[in-house]
Every structure is written in C-alpha cells, then in structure tokens.
C-alpha cells in the first residue's frame, strides 16, 4: 500500500478549503438555527488564510505543515471552532515532525491524536451534539478498515460513510455543549454545524489521499 506524501496532505487541506467555500452559506445557515450563525464564514476565513501561505507550507515536512495549518486556524477562525480544529491539527502535527510521508496506519494515529486533543480541550463526548459525533466514528472506521488490510480508498470511503451517519445522529440530539446548549430542547431537530464541517474533512481526504 502506498504512503501519503506531504504534498498530498496539502492537497487535502486545499480540497477542504474548496469544500468549505462551497458549503459556507449552508454551514452558516445550520449555525444560525442553533448557534450564532458564523460557522461557515469563520471556517472559510481560516482556510483561505492557509491558502495564502501555500508557498511556505508546501515545501516543508508534514509536522511543520500541520502545525502551520493549526496555528493559522487558531489565529484566524476565532470562536470555539478555531480552537478545536486548531487543536486537532496541532496535536496531529506532534506525530509527524520531520516526516515527508506517512503510512496509512501512521495517518490513522495522527487522526486519533488530533481527536484526543479535541476531547481534552472541548470536554465533549459522542452524543453531546458536537463535531466529535462525526469525527470519532469516522476515525474509528478508517482505523478498523486499515487494520483489516483494506486499501486507503476503502478505508477513507468507510470513514466518510461513518462520519455521515454520525452527522445524521446529531439531528435529534439535544445539545450539551457550546452555544446551542442554551436552547435546550429547541436544539433538537437540527444537524450540528461542527459535525457537518467535519464530514467535509473526511470527504476531502477521500478525494485526495488515495
């Protein structure tokens, strides 16, 4: 099975930026229903800031690339999303220092490290109606698939499906974290905006990393 190169990692982020740009208004609309209506605009601002740094980020190892992505998100997105997505990439970067390629298994460990960082920072669990509802099952599906000897393509495709199922599961939930939790029962009936942008992260990976 072939490894993932640092240029593929940047292409992944570029594709993610394009998908966020495309879905910006939809994400904002989801957020307006149960949050403060800025998720799409904030994510878009952060990812566009990453693209501006393309020249610097492309010619470096995966650890530095992911750290650059993290710091840019942290300093430009704001709100909870900037801190949480930033923490995800920052923690992931710690396992990729000096590396110019990753095996599919190593990539899975990076994702898990990122997830652990988000859980620690946001103190949320599956079922709280947050991005973790899509992220956790997506990563698990990817890891299980790689462990059972399937290809990168199969693993990422399963990750996208599992994240999608996770996203759908947020719709009936009552939010327990973030601004949506102020709504109590009124938060039920709407999908979580953070889980929606997380699905795009897997979808862009499936389109670029295999």
């Amino acid at each position: 099975m072939s490894n993932i190169s640092s240029s593929q990692i940047f292409t992944w982020i570029e594709r993610y930026a394009a998908q966020i740009a495309e879905q910006k208004d939809y994400l904002t609309q989801l957020d307006a229903a149960i949050g403060d209506g800025d998720h799409g605009a904030n994510m878009h601002r952060g990812l566009q800031a990453i693209l501006v740094k393309k020249a610097d980020l492309q010619n470096t190892d995966i650890g530095a690339l992911l750290k650059g992505v993290a710091m840019t998100l942290i300093s430009t997105v704001g709100g909870a999303s900037g801190a949480l997505y930033g923490t995800f990439f920052l923690q992931a970067s710690t396992l990729a220092g000096g590396k110019t390629e990753l095996s599919p298994r190593e990539f899975g460990s990076l994702l898990e490290k990122g997830l652990a960082g988000i859980v620690l920072r946001g103190k949320a669990a599956v079922g709280d109606k947050t991005m973790i509802d899509a992220l956790q099952p997506g990563i698990k599906a990817y890891k299980d698939s790689i462990e059972s000897g399937e290809t990168m393509e199969q693993a990422l495709s399963k990750a996208v499906s599992a994240a999608d199922v996770g996203l759908s599961s947020t719709t009936p939930l009552i939010a327990r974290k973030g601004r949506a939790s102020y709504l109590g029962e009124r938060s039920a009936g709407h999908p979580d905006p953070g889980a929606s942008s997380t699905v795009l992260l897997f979808r862009s990976a499936a389109e670029t990393l295999c």
Binding site: D36, I74, G78, A83, T87, R121, R176, K177, Y182, G184
Partner: protein, 333 residues
Amino acid sequence: MKKLINSPENVVLESITGLGAAFSELIKIHTNPNYITRADAPVENKVALVSGGGSGHEPMHGGFVGRGMLDAACPGAVFTSPTPDQMFEATKAVNGGKGVLHIVKNYTGDVLNFEMAADLARAEGIEVEAVVIDDDVAVKDSLWTAGRRGVGTTVLAEKICGAAAEAGHSLKEVAALCQNVNKNGRSMGMALTSCIVPHAGKPTFDLPEDEMEIGIGIHGEPGRTRTKLKSADEITEVLLQPIVEDLPYKSGDEVLLFVNSMGGTPLLELFVVYGKAHEILTRQGIKVTRSLVGPYITSLEMAGASITLLKLDDEMTKLWDAPVLTPALRWGV
C-alpha cells in the same frame, strides 16, 4: 441595514483605532494581533488583568483598560471570541512579574481560546490564573449545558479586581476575589428589539412590535420567554425577582445595583428601571449601597436593559470606591 460604518470587515479595527486616538493618554492600541493595553504597561510588580471577548459590547472591554481596572483587553470580531495569539501577546505585554489574571466570560469560544492562551503563556514561564464569570440567571445552570453565560457581573469584577491588583494584592488573592465577586453577582436582561450584526446585515432575531424577549443574551441568544410588551415597572419586577431568588439576596444584605443598557435604550428609560428596582429591593430590606447606571455591556444597537445585583462586603465596597481611570469608568482621580 442602516449603520454608521465603512465596511463590516473593518469596523472593529477602525473602532479600536478611534478609541486609541480619543484616549491616547490612557491606552495604547496594538494591531496584528489586535489588543489594547494601558499606556504605561507593563506596570512592574503589579498583578496584571487581561480580559477580552467578541466586539459589539462596547465599552466592554477596551473601555475598561486603564489604571485601577484592566491592563489589557482583546477584541474579537463582532460577537466572536478573540484568538489565543491576541491573548498571549496581550499577556506578555502587560506581565509585570507578579502574574496575570484572565477574566473570561463563560462562552465556549472564549473559554477554549483563553485556555490555549494560558497554556502558551505558562510555557513561557508567566504565571497565569483564569476566572470564568457565569452570572446570567436566564440560563439553567446544569452539567449538561455550557452553563450560565457571563454578563453584567464581568464589569463589576473587572473594576473590583483591578483595584485589588492596584493595591498590591497577589495573583492568588486577586483570583480568589474575582471568584467571590462572581459567586455573589447575578444578572438578567431583556430585549425590546434585535441587534444587527454588521456582517450579517439583518436582525439576529425577529421580535414583533408588541413583544419582548425576557432573559436575552448579549449576542441576541434567546432567553426564557417571549411575552407581550409590558410597562417598565412590570419588566423590572420580571427581571429582578429571579435574580433576587437565585442567590438569594436577603433582607439586611448590602448590594450594588447595576442597571445596564443593551445599547439602544436611553438613560431616560434606564433610570425609570433603576428607580423601580431600588424601590423593590428597599421594600424587601435589601440595602442598595452602591450603583451603576448606563451602557456598559451592550449588544450593538439592541434596545433593552439588564439588571445585575452584587452582594457587597466591606472589602468589595472599598475596592469599588477606589480610584479608576479608564475611557469608560473614572472616579476618585
């Protein structure tokens, strides 16, 4: 949308630039990342106070930077938490060697970003404590939510703790005092009209001409109930009763009564609310010994008001009375 702005993208930077120009003897504006410090920062051998939050609540927090209150404030985009790089740079800029207290309003974004900034500062050897203000009784306090929002008590905590820092208290002492102010402060607000976030360009929520929202948040988050508009006296009762019952404030207590405008409500009306609140408290044997009335923690142009009560002890009263010299609060100097 009818607003006195040039563009939604530049409104925060242009506003803090103007604030800095108007009060250049008191404060200094830093950009990239954006933060505001006392003109004489860092003050050696004094605990430094840093706060911040989304813009749109002016004069909070930038208007409270100065002697006897905050050492630095970090303005985020409108209604969006500032970022850790702003808080980290502000913390470094004001650290006078006695540690830095972060005063954080309880919103998920603010809390997470301040936590990251505190981690960064501690990694550089700066002693940092953080106190989260969560005084809004409109929100059910529960392990299953983000908890109560931080509102009016934030202003009072920044004044009182700023005075304690100025008086030479240690970081641990100022942090404990801040916790104590939070523990004894309760607030609730209401809206007559919605605010309009500049980049959204339309009202955050629809509120019919004859209705009001009780328990509104300072970002236009929905409150407890939406009802038909009532008289100022009735609205004051509706806001004050849950506040008094929540702590509870009892006969014989000495309190600071803070009546705040959400931005669009004039002083003429605020004092009507203040008068009624004072009368209700006095009738219950609660002694109003200090007061604050005006637009201090606003929500853009939203019409409405909030009431905050703080149960005072002798130390807090003394620190409240201590000199303060900031763009928005100044006395005793």
